[in-house]
Amino acid sequence: MDKSFAFLKTNNQPNRILSRALGKLLDKGLVSAVMAPGITNGSDLPMPVLFTRDEAMESCIPLAPAAGVSAAVQAARIGRKVKDKRVAVVLKPCEVRGVIELAKLNQTSLESLAIISMECPGRMENDAYLAKLSASPDLPDLYLNDSSLQDQASSTCLSCDAFEPQGADITIHLFGLPVMEHIGISGMTAIGNELIEAMDLEKPGAAYDQREAMARLREKRGRAKEELFQKTGEILKNPDQYLEVLGNCLGCFNCRTACPLCYCRECVCARESFDRDLDDVSNRAKKTGQARMPAGLSMFHMTRMVHMSHACVGCGQCSSYCPSKIPVADLFRTMGQQVQNTLDYSPGRDPEEPIPYLRFKTEAGS
């Protein structure tokens, strides 16, 4: 499929103009709904919002540099329920990976979804975003054009070099473009091309070379990622450092709730069999005379790692949700990379690529 590339004039308001272009999909009946970051009564925090009428799209912020929750979970809910209709979902690249991974786990279907994603400058943490927004209401637009603002993204995003969407029907291009004048839009699939037809885009007048801007960012974030993985790899291997980092874990399970891949309704770690009984605690106390009573938290984290490290898409939500500010995502992404390398697997890359644990080889050997 040849990908098409066209411009959308933004008049200093990329979010508003893009929202209107998405509204045209509703107006022309090409999609029955659009799910995109937006704000609703009572909150300025961008959350996934289901838009069904184009006039409501004024509260949509498709390129919002914040994500209250991972939209992958909500997109998966739509994909699971909606048949014979098309819904456009605007997702960040890590959320696209999440929904693809959920489809592989039979938790959703991609059939009714038209996935729109963007070259992602990163998201800010919720509190940082809201604090900044109150001083500067145009933050969602300004952010796209200001690398010093982008440097305030979450630490996960600052060390993420998978910022180009894979598996989307439409890609929004931002890097290396004068985003306050226009942004680029490409259809990546037949459906994507059909949809962007309806957006009334312009043929590119000038040619832009995005490669340099992309390479620079990939270099910068890639280096940050390597440093982070190096440092975190040491923490995981070293019991003292490990306990120092995870010692304040409350066992609240927020990290699991946040994770788009942890789809189980009832977590195995919440079962009674994971409770440590009192004999066990007093046994552990024998050596030093003391033992913490909420026990088994390493067991919880390691179990989640066993279940999720091959599938971790590196969205950072687990860190964002943690009340103890534990860098959970650093641990999971680092372990994720090690396990994924071993299994030769890249989560969310391709819906056709089987989950590694289902690819058994039949020949001998151990």
């Binding site: 995981l236 390493s298 067991m299 091959h310 680092t334 372990m335 396990v339 039949t362």
Partner: protein
């Protein structure tokens, strides 16, 4: 009463070769249909194998939840030995192949947490291979003895 105490003291002071050695805690998860039978055969044929292994019989290696392994290490195991049917011989068609994949991923994970890969072994040992069982267990236990204690139990303090 007096005598008993004396006796105990006597036993304590007399260090045998056995006492001088490090005796690792080894959990062996073995399939009922093959390795367990092989172990039985080794016993019946009076083949000696290290006494450090705690054998747990399972119906198939395919039912090994990675949790069994993680929890063993967290609770102080120095090594985990797994024995299953040769590929093609699994009574449940492909449980052993599933086990192999899971253990492959888990090994990478445990390695990332500082556990030497040699501490987790998976071997295919058929029901008639008593000597093979003896050899593999011996090699495994000796390997762990050289490595020393895993120390992984510290991770369990939270």
């Amino acid at each position: 009463m007096e005598q008993t105490t004396q006796q105990t003291d006597l036993v304590k002071t007399e260090q045998t070769d056995f006492d001088k050695e490090f005796h690792p805690n080894i959990v062996a998860l073995v399939c009922n249909w093959c390795t367990y039978t092989a172990a039985d055969l080794a016993g019946v044929t009076r083949l000696k194998y290290p006494a450090e292994i705690r054998m747990i019989r399972l119906m198939c290696t395919g039912m090994i939840d990675p949790r069994f392994i993680v929890e063993s290490f967290l609770r102080g195991a120095d090594g985990v030995f797994i024995g299953g049917c040769h590929p093609g011989d699994c009574h449940y068609i492909n449980g052993n192949l599933k086990a192999r994949l899971r253990i492959g991923g888990l090994k990478a994970l445990l390695q990332g947490m500082g556990i030497e890969p040699q501490r987790l072994a998976l071997h295919w040992i058929g029901a008639s291979e008593g000597t093979e069982f003896q050899k593999q267990v011996k090699d495994f236990v000796e390997g762990i003895r050289e490595l020393g204690p895993s120390g992984f139990g510290v991770y369990d303090s939270i």
